[in-house]
């Protein structure tokens, strides 16, 4: 069988293209406006924060193990006093794509925590050292206890915090353009950007005239600017094993935010690396389908 490629010069095709184009325009405007609405609402009425630099953003993003370990250290020494990680188990700390602790380290860390177990054969509840399979859990046994210990405020669980918060991105002026930008960049760091910025946005003094409630603190990022959490970080409060990493508030905030992103999305590395392979496969497959289509349709004139 010979392949003949016929010129597709008929007038008809031109007019098909015209209506095709106008319809596409309508469609793009449609999709754009609708989805920009989504982008806007996904971000809520939150603060505007530009994209921050993270090792895990981008198509080939991966977590920086050392950073996750430092972040975990900050969590453990600072955040864990009030905040839990109920959806994480100790064993997660040694799974691939995470902070990469050894199983022995995880066992030792877990053993420092106590969990209530039981009932035993006598029908009594008892406490025992935690096992790697136990949840990292929370510092308080219930919401009421947490509130009582924190002046009525409830320190939220942090397992998902890096996905449960969001910020707006600086607008490029027209919503559909923002939308294309965000999808094209695979912008999934809005939540972690929020956490990072929040931790750094405690000014010395609230702006003049701002009425701060009893036991509340001013924060630039937090909705309403009144937050019950005092600035948790300050320079040199955590001692890093790596001597070349600065022990500044900014570094702590960055490290713990990265750790919380991993906590919220522990399969991120696996997802991105599989994603690359899937996309490559689809590009090859779609190209072959296109060639097959072109060859088949070359048999009929006018197309």
């Amino acid at each position: 069988m010979t392949t003949r490629y016929k010129g597709s010069t008929s007038l008809e095709q031109g007019s098909v293209m015209t209506s095709f184009k106008s319809a596409i325009c309508a469609g793009v405007v449609a999709g754009g406006v609708v989805l920009s609405g989504t982008a806007a609402h996904a971000a809520g009425e939150g603060p505007v924060v530009p994209r921050q630099e993270w090792s895990f953003s981008g198509v080939t993003g991966t977590f920086d193990k050392a950073q996750l370990q430092r972040g975990y250290q900050v969590y453990r020494e600072v955040c864990a006093a009030c905040h839990g990680l109920k959806f994480l188990s100790w064993r997660n700390l040694s799974q691939s794509g995470g902070p990469g602790l050894t199983e022995a380290e995880v066992k030792a860390l877990a053993a420092e925590a106590e969990v209530t177990d039981g009932p035993n054969e006598e029908g009594e509840m008892f406490t025992r050292p935690a096992l790697p399979s136990d949840s990292i859990g929370a510092p308080y046994s219930n919401v009421q206890e947490a509130r009582a210990a924190n002046g009525g405020a409830y320190p939220p669980d942090l397992s998902l915090i890096a996905k449960a918060r969001s910020v707006n991105r600086p607008s490029l002026g027209f919503a559909p353009i923002n939308w294309v930008r965000d999808i094209a960049l695979g912008d999934e760091t809005r939540g972690v950007d929020y956490v990072y910025k929040l931790l750094k946005s405690y000014p010395e003094e609230p702006p003049e005239g701002f009425q701060l409630g009893e036991g509340m603190y001013y924060n630039d990022i937090y909705p309403g600017h009144q937050i019950a959490m005092a600035s948790p970080l300050s320079d040199d409060i955590v001692e890093y094993a790596q001597s070349d990493v600065p022990t500044t508030t900014d570094q702590y905030a960055k490290d713990v935010s990265a750790f919380l992103m991993w906590a919220a999305e522990p399969k991120l590395e696996e997802r991105k690396s599989l994603g690359l392979r899937v996309l490559l496969y689809l590009i090859v497959l779609t190209t072959l389908l296109y060639l097959a289509k072109r060859k088949l349709w070359s048999r009929v004139s006018g197309h």
Binding site: S10, L11, E12, Q13, S15, V16, S19, F20, A23, A26, G27, V29, A30, G31, V33, V34, L35, G37, T38, A40, H41, A42, A43, G44, E45, V59, F87, L88, N92, L160, K163, A164, S166, D182, I183, G186, D187, E188, P223, A264, K267, K272, L274, G275, L276, V278, L279, L282, T286, L289, Y290, A292, K293, L296, W297, R299, V300, S301, G302, H303
Partner: protein, 430 residues
């Protein structure tokens, strides 16, 4: 026009089956279906939608094996899927993003139908079945989103189910009764979640059945085409296979590239951050917004801020919202033009563009707070939405002079008298 069967049993076994249950004949005739040769890429979305439905059903069934439909455990079981189930994150993200992809495809598919007049005789039932599918999709998506049992799930269900209480304004007590009947409780609760799960599992199969009817109706009337001129001769068509199977597959490949990009690079972009907070009946989110594909209808709901006669604003909004979809059932009779494709309708075309713009604008406004200028704009676009179907469609058809149309599809593709030669006339014989 329903085409003649071209199936010839090749063996005694095939003949035996054909005499009893002619499934091979059906499959063969499906593949051979004469299809207008001038279909453009907008016509590939039917196949893409079938793919979307399959993806949702397959991923959904596996997710259901790990999900726990109780207020106590639902949210945690979703996290269990994300963290502990093998490939659970992939299943869930594909399912969640898949819902958005499904709606992107269905909106394009519907816009295609509107643009080329695919709802007109003899395809009225085909179109109406499509509207039924769209309604079922909306119900299914709504209930599926509820299952996550995050803050937006919970409050979305609360807001939308509460709409029925507006009936109280007409018949006191009836609305509240309906709402409590839907909830199975005095509030959105465990019982509500449980039935949402049952229905979310059921409805996709109702969709699949209706899709079967939709495709059956398609095979009776044949596809419409961008010219809106019916098939008149053999040269107007090409067999569905291989010409349109390969074209549909290529389009599906492109669609999957976009689908995969979102699943792997921005899986939560189309969702709402608040839904990663577990449902809490004691804490209302600052802004309750539905998923993006409901925003145009949500905007219509909120656009009615005034009483109409004895109908209070809230009930009016509900009627407008449901009315915006019900009106689609009547399109075949509302459109008085004898010309199908907007391509040949120089005036109507622009009104149709205005409709598309209105729906998009409503989608944008649905995500904005219901205050100030946003309400006024919602009212203007809602007014146009209904005016388009109830006023523009019936009257433009009467006053408009359509532009010249080709005598046949063949003429439109090949130009001239439409007498094709050799290969073009009977490509399948080569």
């Amino acid at each position: 026009m329903s085409h003649e069967s071209t199936y010839h049993p090749q063996s005694a076994t095939e003949r035996w089956i054909d005499d009893r249950l002619p499934l091979p004949r059906m499959a063969s005739d499906f593949m051979a279906m004469p299809t207008p040769r001038n279909l453009n890429y907008f016509y590939t979305f039917g196949g893409i939608l079938t793919f979307c439905l399959l993806v949702q059903i397959v991923t959904g069934i596996v997710l259901a094996m790990h999900y726990k439909p109780s207020a106590m455990n639902a949210f945690a079981s979703v996290e269990h899927i994300m963290r502990d189930v093998n490939w659970g994150w992939l299943l869930r993200y594909t399912h969640a993003v898949g819902a958005s992809m499904f709606f992107i495809a269905v909106f394009i598919h519907m816009a295609r139908g509107l643009w080329y007049g695919s709802y007109k005789a003899p395809r009225e039932i085909l179109w109406m079945l499509g509207v039924v599918i769209f309604l079922l999709m909306m119900a299914t998506a709504f209930m599926g989103y509820a299952l996550v049992w995050g803050q937006m799930s919970f409050w979305g269900v609360t807001v939308i189910t509460n709409l029925f209480s507006s009936i109280d304004a007409l018949i006191p007590g009836l609305g509240t009764g309906i709402v409590q009947w839907i909830w199975g409780d005095y509030a959105v609760s465990d019982a509500t979640l449980n039935r949402m799960f049952a229905l979310h599992y059921l409805l996709p199969f109702a969709i699949a059945g209706t899709v079967g009817l939709h495709i059956w109706a398609l095979h009776v009337t044949g596809s419409n085409n961008p010219q809106g001129v019916e098939v008149k001769q053999n040269t107007d068509t090409l067999p569905f296979h291989p010409y349109f199977t390969v074209k549909d597959l290529f389009a599906l490949g492109v669609f999957c590239l976009f689908f995969a990009w979102v699943v792997f690079q921005a899986p939560n972009y189309l969702g709402h951050a608040d839904n990663y907070i577990e449902a809490n009946p004691l804490s209302t989110p600052a802004h309750i917004v539905p998923e993006w594909y409901f925003l145009p209808f949500y905007a219509i709901l909120r656009a009615v801020t005034f009483d109409v006669l004895f109908i209070p604003a809230k009930l009016g909004g509900v009627i407008a919202m449901f009315g915006s979809i019900v009106v689609l059932f009547f399109l075949p009779w509302l459109d008085r033009s004898r010309v199908k494709s907007a391509k040949h309708r120089p005036i109507y075309k622009w009104f149709l563009v205005a409709l598309f713009v209105s729906v998009c604008a409503l989608g944008y406004l649905g995500a904005k707070p219901a205050e100030g200028i946003y309400v006024v704009l919602s009212q203007i676009f809602t007014a146009y939405y209904f005016a388009h179907f109830l006023i523009v469609m019936p009257f433009i058809g009467i006053i408009e002079r359509p532009s010249d149309r080709p005598n046949s599809i063949t003429e439109s593709v090949l130009g001239g008298s439409g007498a094709p030669a050799g290969a073009a006339a009977a490509p399948e014989t080569r």
